[in-house]
């Protein structure tokens, strides 16, 4: 019998582009003495008292499943935390789901709301997973570009221009990965107006909400009339330095939450039990740690932004997260060229801006979640690299 080899991978997955970050990881991982500004996570280890809470839960034998939505005690702590820190009210019994990182929160949100062909407006530059996750959920990602000349803030007009009958939701992230840009209350209100006018949802990725350095943080759900239209995604990875615990949560009105719980329940059952015990401790007693970390990031942000500008890479001041997003246009190189040559020549790893979307081209993402000594050395090497181009 004649046979052509059968392909087992679905067409959808087959056609997904691998993340552009992967290539840089492979390049950098094979090199010695690399200083990495390419890391998208805190340089702090999880505070000891939080780790200790997880150890203690293991010692006491809490090794079984939790309820699908997560331990009630944790959901109560999350409700209290969201109310006191961000002034948004969610019911712990039916509007909060504890997830496997913000990642799985975004995933269940999209799979819950999308019918095939529904459109989700994705604001770029953005976290590399948004577009693939929309596509995997059967939706169509409609990309709009936040531009450098607008401080990487999307304008309502740009959004209005791409709204169609199929627009189900918009995804925003503030403070943003990779630009660090934070949206003000009035800017959020502008987006809220559109959501109300055209009746769509906002998936607000607020994973960096704790890391706001200049202005007080405003949650999308805290904007008048937006509690009903917002799916609020957050978690412990960034603010509490808990990336490896894989713990996040999603808050939404009960109609959406109960539907998301079905997806979560069948797909994941529940988040890791020991991580949930750690998170209870983080919310109960972790405030001073967060404040210390924020202080330390703020200093490093000030340092790196000023240093980039001094060595000739124009850099706007990011209001949050731990990323600086300087422009490399003055060098005449594309972001890929700049990043690759910098890595090979000087052993500094950064992430080229175009992997986060078209409007990131001409920039590089530099995480300043590294020690001051490392940042100093990185700046020295980047300067030497730029000088060598002339």
């Amino acid at each position: 019998m004649e046979s052509t080899k059968r392909t087992y991978v679905s067409k959808l997955v087959h056609e997904l582009k691998p993340s552009g970050i992967r290539r840089f990881f492979d390049l950098a991982a094979g090199m010695e003495g690399v200083i990495s500004l390419g890391v998208g996570e805190p340089d702090f280890v999880t505070p000891w008292h939080i780790r200790e809470a997880a150890i203690s839960s293991l010692e006491q034998g809490y090794t079984s499943y939790t309820p699908n939505a997560g331990l009630l005690e944790l959901r109560e702590e999350i409700a209290y935390y969201m109310k006191t820190q961000f002034n948004v009210s969610y019911s712990p019994t039916d509007e909060i789901i504890v997830t496997v990182g913000a990642s799985s929160a975004i995933d269940i949100a999209l799979r819950t709301i999308l019918d095939p062909g529904d459109e989700v407006i994705v604001v770029e530059p953005c976290f590399v997973s948004y577009v693939p996750m929309v596509e995997l959920a059967g939706g169509v990602a409609v990309q709009v570009q936040a531009l450098k000349e607008n401080d990487f803030k999307i304008l309502p007009d740009q959004i209005e221009a791409v709204i169609t009958e199929k627009t189900k939701a918009i995804m925003i992230c503030s403070p943003n990965n990779p630009t660090g840009t934070m949206l003000s209350k009035s800017e959020l209100e502008g987006l809220a107006q559109l959501a109300n006018k055209y009746d769509f949802l906002v998936i607000a990725d607020e994973i960096y909400a704790e890391l706001a350095y200049d202005e007080e943080y405003t949650s999308m759900a805290a904007i008048d009339g937006m509690l009903e239209r917002t799916i609020l995604v957050s978690g412990f990875s960034k603010g509490f330095a808990m990336t490896g615990w894989r713990l996040g949560f999603v808050c939404a009105p009960v109609e959406i939450s109960s539907a998301m719980l079905k997806v979560h329940q069948y797909g994941l059952m529940c988040a890791s039990t020991m991580s949930q015990y750690a998170a209870i401790e983080a919310l109960k007693n972790g405030r001073p740690d967060v404040e210390e970390m924020v202080k330390s990031y703020r200093r490093r942000r000030n340092y790196i932004v000023q240093s980039f500008n001094e060595i000739g890479l124009e850099c706007h001041e990011p209001g949050g997260a731990f990323y600086a997003f300087p422009s490399v246009q003055s060098t005449g190189l594309t972001s890929q060229e700049f990043a690759e040559r910098l890595l090979l020549q000087e052993g500094v790893a950064v992430v080229p801006g175009d992997v986060f979307g078209e409007s990131g081209e001409g920039h590089i993402r530099c995480s300043y979640a590294s020690s001051l000594e490392q940042l100093q050395e990185a700046i020295k090497r980047i300067k030497r690299f730029i000088d060598s181009l002339e």
Binding site: A28, V39, G40, D43, Y303
Partner: protein, 166 residues
């Protein structure tokens, strides 16, 4: 002295690393180099910053003689001056690094430094125990320093993160 926000930041930075360059501090707190220099000078003049010292791990220095002992001392307080007089008698000895008045089963806790165990033992038997008010002493030698004044001596600083991540 009441510190403003920037001064407080400067003190915190210097307390962690007294050798941070003034230019770097200026960038971190958002002041000019001159302003930062002036603030530091003011902090020094007002003795908010008392001194810049190094934390040394002497065990790394080969053949460096040196032992530390913590000694619990029971004493009879004196009418009128309480423990202060005997505390002063003790802290005046060069060998004595610290003296604390304690609650609990003994009265004074003192830290003594010497070149060798012998030297410390001699100090205790010849100088300390022979003081009139001293009733008894219990000497504990420090074998290894793990953490001192908030500083961990051999921290595990390895960066355990993957080099590039989203």
């Amino acid at each position: 002295m009441r510190l403003n926000e920037k001064e407080l930041e400067i003190v915190e930075i210097l307390e962690k690393d007294a050798r941070t360059a003034t230019g770097d501090i200026a960038k971190m707190v958002g002041l000019s180099v001159e302003e930062t220099e002036q603030s530091i000078k003011k902090l020094e003049e007002n003795k908010v910053i008392v001194r810049y010292i190094s934390i040394v791990d002497w065990t790394k220095v080969e053949e460096h003689p040196g032992v530390r002992a913590m000694i619990d001392v029971k004493v009879t307080p004196k009418r009128g001056v309480g423990f202060d007089e005997i505390a002063e008698r003790i802290y005046r000895f060069d060998e004595v690094n610290s003296v604390y008045l304690m609650s609990g089963t003994y009265d004074l806790s003192i830290i003594v430094e010497g070149k060798s165990m012998n030297e410390v033992a001699n100090f205790v038997s010849q100088k300390l125990s022979t003081l009139d008010s001293v009733i008894s002493t219990t000497t504990h030698f420090i074998l290894k320093k793990y953490k001192h004044d908030g500083i961990i001596f051999e921290p595990d600083n390895k960066d355990k993160r993957i080099v590039v991540s989203p």
